[in-house]
Symmetry: C2
Subunit: 348 residues, 2 copies
Amino acid sequence: MKPIPGLVKHNQRIAMRHGGGGRAMRTLIEEVFMRGADDIPVDGVGLSAMDDGAAIRIGDQYLIVTTDSHVIHPLFFPGGDIGMLSIAGTVNDLSMMGATQLLGLTCGVILEEGLERDILERVQASMQATCREVGVPILTGDTKVMGKGEIDSLVINTTGVALTKRIVRDNGLQVGDRIIVTGTVGDHGLAVMALRNKLELEGDLRSDVAPLFDLVQKVLAAGGDSVVAMKDPTRGGVASALHEMAGKAGVGILISEQAVPVSEAARAAGELLGIDPLHVANEGKALIGVRPEAADRVLAALKAHPLGRNAAIIGTAIAEPKGKLVLDTGFGKRLLAEPEGEPLPRIC
Amino acid sequence: MKPIPGLVKHNQRIAMRHGGGGRAMRTLIEEVFMRGADDIPVDGVGLSAMDDGAAIRIGDQYLIVTTDSHVIHPLFFPGGDIGMLSIAGTVNDLSMMGATQLLGLTCGVILEEGLERDILERVQASMQATCREVGVPILTGDTKVMGKGEIDSLVINTTGVALTKRIVRDNGLQVGDRIIVTGTVGDHGLAVMALRNKLELEGDLRSDVAPLFDLVQKVLAAGGDSVVAMKDPTRGGVASALHEMAGKAGVGILISEQAVPVSEAARAAGELLGIDPLHVANEGKALIGVRPEAADRVLAALKAHPLGRNAAIIGTAIAEPKGKLVLDTGFGKRLLAEPEGEPLPRIC
């Protein structure tokens, strides 16, 4: 192997944590994928912004582009499946960038030799149903097959394109802005963990996987320019997403733990598994930063929507400590560390 | 498992041929991925066109979108690597749709736990170098990790977006149109096969992987509206791509075997392996259908470009037999069957 000039030789190997959505993944991306990221300038939001997607100016609007590969295991889980997830996940990333017109999605599947065709048909039907719900077409696709044992069953890449006149970034918080979460946190990650650990739980613990485009349109209509930051808390959960938002904006975030909505079932599963619902992936939730004067208006718009019934104002951007989360437990305040990564691999 | 209404139950399983770019793959796509493809209409070229990509009207131009997952094994091969391939492959699909302004690419990687980080860095450097060569930025990305043994080393999805005023389809052939190939055929597939089979060959058999955007701009400048069809002959090779072009246009295609450029090294490898260079993947070649009066002009433009030096007019669209290829061997004519798929899995 010829060494690449300027690169320090690493004997490091890729570990599961490098895909976990937390600090380990961010470091890998910064050290490897950001090399040369700004060589070819983008008129808009490019790779080095490390936002939920990119935005390129075209005339008087922006083309938003996002991509996600879906490797969830198992393929079918309470509340959803990889097909629904692959559509909702990419629709949500487009929505978080402020998309107001969805143009379409691409679908690249990689299949394992020997996969039952019935499974593929169920996954495709689920993708199609979610597309119809949102009103977004699959534009084009690609099909690859790898040998038996070369890939575990099937993975799906979905890339999305959309338009907007006004991009919403994940770095727009100012001191005093309110942080809203659109519903209960931790349901997706804990539902998949409970399934993988064969936990017997009371109550109905289901993934929250859902496309948020319609909900976000209501938020943008109610909040307008006062909606200053959005991010969907997937891998690494709310804790990871808020760290990213705080770090990029150069503010701290004070969270009221008691204000964070958590379903009874997720709370029970989290206690059994010893995992904080703030640290696990959501697939149908958004974190929204709004100017304080618009917070109640946006919250009311959310609560009027079926996917926002449990929305709550959970925190405020503060001046210090910059880039950190402060958790007010009701009994005192403590720093909430940035997660190294998602506790469970292949959660999305 | 709940049966999906209207679906006949299949006990079929996915086979390697379903990813081979030939008839088996086309049938799988038609039977599974086309279900509901037209439910949400696209103003332009959508999924059901099964072209190299999609095109959506935005104002007075079209947004072109294409996606490809790259699963080639091994990752590094004579003439290129998966990084270069992932950029060139998607740039070429955009180019085949008539792109005149590349906006950017997305990059979704799936890594195997335990992958050496050096390998990832080499692949990223190669992607970046190819992007710089073309002048196209990577806009956004996604990083997933699967467990050791759950995926073979690494795969890359690249999705591309570009603009054009005039789409070029793969279905535009009319009787009398000339078919041009931009250079020698079979080099990529045979180079990878020779490596996998550890063939000892004389001469320099290398993959032709290269981004064709610049070459295609010269073609469009020289041929204008007389350039009526383009397709890059990847999996399944020239034989598969021409079958698709003939079938969609409702014409036959007569190919002069002696006119098809094949390098000495590819010919030798093809003979040793018993494989026709017309049947294997190219990654830096295009098939171009042009009105007869423009053929010489387009050919001259190609030959003036470093990637088109070996371009040749290899055939003509004919009235019958529709959807078929007729090979004129110099000693007589015979039908060239549509390949079932690429002879070698994981060729791209």
